[in-house]
Each structure stands twice: as C-alpha cells, then as structure tokens.
C-alpha cells in the first residue's frame, strides 16, 4: 500500500532569524492528515522535540544532511487510532492534496458538521477537504455518504483531535 507523502516543514529560516519554531511545528502536527508523517528540517538535532513528539505518538528518525543541518522524519506509531473510512472510500492515500483546510476544534457540536458540509458544497467533484475537530463527527458520516462524498478519518495520536479528509463526489 502506498503511503501519503510526508508533510515537509522547514524551520531553518525561523531558527536563522532567531525565532522560536515550536508553535509552527505543533501547528503542522495538528494539520497532519490521518496516518501522515512529518519531515522537519532544522539547523541542529532537535533533541527536546523528540520527547514531545514521542508523547504525541510519533517515532523519529534523524539524519544529518548537507551543511550541518538535520532532517527528522516523524512517523505516527503503528498503534495509533486506525483510520476509519466510508465504504466507498478506496485508497485515500491516492487522493489529491486537500484544497481546503478547516480548524473546527473550538466549535460547539453540531457547528463543525455545518461548516464541513458548507465547505463541501463549495468544492468541485474530486477535490478534497481536510478538517480537524474536537471529537468524532458521528452524525456527519451518514450525511456525507448520503451526498455521495467519500471520507477517511481518525483520532490524532493524543486522542484529542479528530482529522477527516472528505473527497467530493459527483453529485
């Protein structure tokens, strides 16, 4: 099975300008799709980050690259929450990159459901939207299926956010 390409985050510019990249890294982790890995480029071996990512359920693999910089690949541990999919969702890893990102973690249910359905209406068939929610949108799943959309989703490694990919169907 082919895997989703890892998301790449280069924090070298932030580090070189004397900035603190932690926020950007955590944001990138939150935006990862279900099962997706993160490649981080830094100017040093980010030892303290390994602990943090370990806690969020990621294994790491670090190697030194040209110019003394480091490349770290964070991959979700195998025992992370399994990816759930709609019956007709075949091979979500082959779907195009999401053209819409929604962070709905702070919204009351059922508002996330409303936002996702509204965003789905605005997309073309075949396009993909990605959303992060505070909990599993159980009432959304049948509605997506009813409208001919496919979806794949799971909880993140900490179990505190639910990520979902929706591929718009030919309605």
């Amino acid at each position: 099975m082919s895997e989703i390409t890892p998301k790449v985050l280069d924090v070298r510019p932030i580090l070189r300008s004397g900035g603190e990249p932690f926020q950007a890294i955590m944001q990138a982790v939150q935006d990862l799709q279900p099962g997706q890995a993160l490649t981080l480029l830094a100017t040093f071996r980010p030892q303290p980050l390994f602990r943090v990512m370990e806690g969020r359920g990621f294994d790491h693999e670090a190697r030194e690259i040209d110019g003394g910089d480091w490349e770290v690949l964070f991959t979700p541990k195998k025992d992370a929450a399994p990816v759930e999919t709609s019956v007709d969702a075949d091979r979500p890893e082959t779907w195009p990159d999401p053209s819409e990102h929604l962070d709905l973690t702070d919204l009351d249910p059922p508002e996330p459901m409303v936002r996702i359905l509204a965003a789905a209406e605005a997309l073309e068939p075949g396009e993909v939207l990605f959303a992060v929610l505070a909990r599993e949108p159980l009432f959304l799943f049948p509605e997506l299926t009813k409208r001919g959309h496919q979806w794949a989703g799971n909880f993140d490694e900490t179990g505190s956010a639910y990520r979902i990919l929706v591929r718009i169907g030919e309605a």
């Binding site: 009351d108 059922p110 996702i116 359905l117 509204a118 789905a120 159980l138 049948p142």
Partner: protein, 452 residues
Amino acid sequence: MPGATLSRWTMSYFAAACLMLVAGQGLMVAGYGYPFADISAPETLVVVHLIAIGWLSLLMAGALLQFVPVLIARPVIGGRFAMPALLLLLGGLGCLLGGFVALSGALDLPLALLPIGGVMLLAGFGLFAGILAVTLLSARPLPLPARFVATGLAALVGAALIGSAFTATLSGFTESPLLDRLVADGVALHAALGLGGWLSATAVGVSYRLFSMFLLAPEVERSTSRAAWWGASLAVGLVVVAVVFVLSGIFGAALLFAAALLLTLMAVMLYGADVLHIYRGRKRKQAELNICASFAALGLCAISILLLNVPSLRSGNMVAAVVYLFVFGWLTGLGLAQLYKIVAFLTWLEAYGPVLGRAPVPRVQDLVDERHALILFRLYYGAVGIAVLSLAAGTTGFFRMAVAGQLLSTLCLIREFIRARRLSIVPAALRAPAGMVRPRLFLPLSAFQGDK
C-alpha cells in the same frame, strides 16, 4: 462503517414517557396512592410503576436507542425491534396497572392482568435489552460510558425478572415459599435494581459523554471514572446476591444491601468529582441550561444516596421522602433537562440535516427559548423540594400542592418540547429553507427512513 443516524422510534418513546409522567403526577395531585394510601398499597404501586416504567424507563430506553451508537461509534443492530418493544412495554404496563387496580378492589378487573403484564413487560424489556446487548457486543472493547450502559442493562433484566415473579405471586398464580420470601423481603432490592442499577447507572454513563460534548471538554477515561463504574457494578452484583439470599432464606441480605448502598455512595462521589473535572476543563465559558439543570439533579442524587445510607432513614415516612427525592430530583430532573436539549438537537438534525451547507439554517439553540425554560426548571425543582419536605413532615395537603406545581412545570416543559418539534420558536426567516423536512410530532416520517 462508523456513524450515527436518527433513531426512528426515539421520539415515540419520549412522547409516551411524557404522557406517563403527566398521568403519574396527575394521580398524586388527585390524592391517589401514597401518602393518601399505604406505602405498599396497590394504589401506590400504580403510581410508582407509572413513573418508574412508563416515564423513566421509556425515556431511558428511547434515549439509549439514539445515544448508544454515539457512545460506541457504531449503528444499532436490530433497530427494527424498537417499535415492537415499545408496544410490548406499553401493553405490559397497561396490564400491570390494571392488575394493581384489580388488587385494590376499586374496579372489578381480572387479577390475571397482573401476570400477563409481568410477562409482557419482561418480553418488552428483554427485547429492548437484547437489541442493545447485541449492539454493545459488536463494539468490544467497550468505552467506559458504554460499560455503564451494560451494567444498567444487566440490572434492568434483574429488576424485570423479580418484578414478573412478584406479579405471579401477588395474583395467586403460583404458590411458592421461595417467591413469598421474595415478596416479603425483596421489594427494596427490586427498586434498587430498577431505579439505581438500571436507570441511574445508564444515566451516569450517557452523561459522561453528553457533559463533555456539551461543555466542549476533552474526553479522557480517568481512573476515578473507572472506579465509579466498578463501584456501581459491584453494587448491582451485591444486590443480585442479596436477591439470591432472600430467595434461599439465607440471613444477610440486609447487610449486603447496606454494603451496596455504601458502594453506590462512593461511586456517586467519584462521578461527581469527574463531572466537576469535566466542568473545569471545559472550553465553553457559559454552560447551557440543560447542563445547569442536570447539575441540580446530580446534587440531589448525591443528597438522596447519602440519606439512604443512614439506617434510620430507610423506613417509614423518611424512606418515602428520600426515594421521592431520588426519583423526582435526580432521575426526573436529569431526564427533563436532557430531553430539553435532545429533542431540540434531534429535531434540528431531522429538519435541517438534508440542507446543511446548502442554505442558511437556524442554530440548535434557535429551536428553544432558554429564558422561558429556566423559569420552568426553577419552578420544577422548587416544587420537588417542597414535596419532599412535606412527605418527610407528613403534611399531605402541602404535598398535593407541591406536586401540582411539579405537574404544571412539567406540562409547560412538554409544551416547550412540542414547540421545538414544531419549529415554532425558530425565526420565521430561517424556519423553512427549501429542501428542509418538517418533522412529525412523535412518529418517524416514513416506514423506510432511518435505521433498518
């Protein structure tokens, strides 16, 4: 595939339950049953079972058919048996009440109604528990809230079995020293399994999920929650063992019962601490009315369980007052508070689900009038407080007036539920976007909609 759809018959369960609540309180206002009759008189049994089976059990059954899929992220298996189960329960309750009336001698009804009612209720509860048991079995390992529901279902089956054994004995249908002992010493155990094991354990389980959902709090399985489940389950187990002791004439059932009550108190305290933890970890600043009204119920639960642990309060006037507090303060208070939210949410989903994202729709909050309902909940809890105090003091006149207050606030709340179903509070501009579905008051829209 994971997901939750609208349960077809939940609104019908709710509608029947509300009617029974009105009927039960109406009888008390009319001076029927305790304290106008003896606490174990057939008239009292009519009122007690109207409330415990007609109102609370139907309410809980309807809510579980809808919310167990939310607890386990899987659809209900065998949802088509929900309607036959409701019919069996309603028919069984009708026969049971007819049997009690026959016992009281007020009407010349056949006493055989009693065991017929017992068997029908056992079948109805069995069918309902079967649906949920199969559904839960498909979702193992169960998350903690669902484990509370499993404990509750076991207690329900126990309570229904004992109850049907009572009907066989009281009607003179069977004669057995075994069952005679059960009738003499097992009433408290029957009530504990029904009101505590079945209704309270399930309410606690579902509320763990609903509280964190409505307060936008992170959902974590804490060790205190697991301990609360163990406490509640062990208490149910002790009561079941006590029933066996009573049946076989072994001394010690009272001791087991006292131990079960103590375990229950511990479980309630842990549950209270968990709810406080959820409340502190919430992202939503202002708790909605359904949460505030549920917290009031929880407080009354703790008080009534605490009082039940005082041996001298487990008899006479006082036990009636404490059980009344448990039934109307905790179970009914929580039930009305959650119904207030659930009816609006399910109606919103049914009416606007098909057009979400395609047209502007009202928010769930637009289906209700919180300021109005706040007054009604205050009136309700105030009336319950007065009713409990007058039961403890033995002033029946006050009691009747207090129950009339309860009845009035309940009727007004039911009117609010109906207004939510009819979408009549929704601003006219948002009420009927093209493509929306107008829900029926309490029946599913078509025979083919929803779960199969």
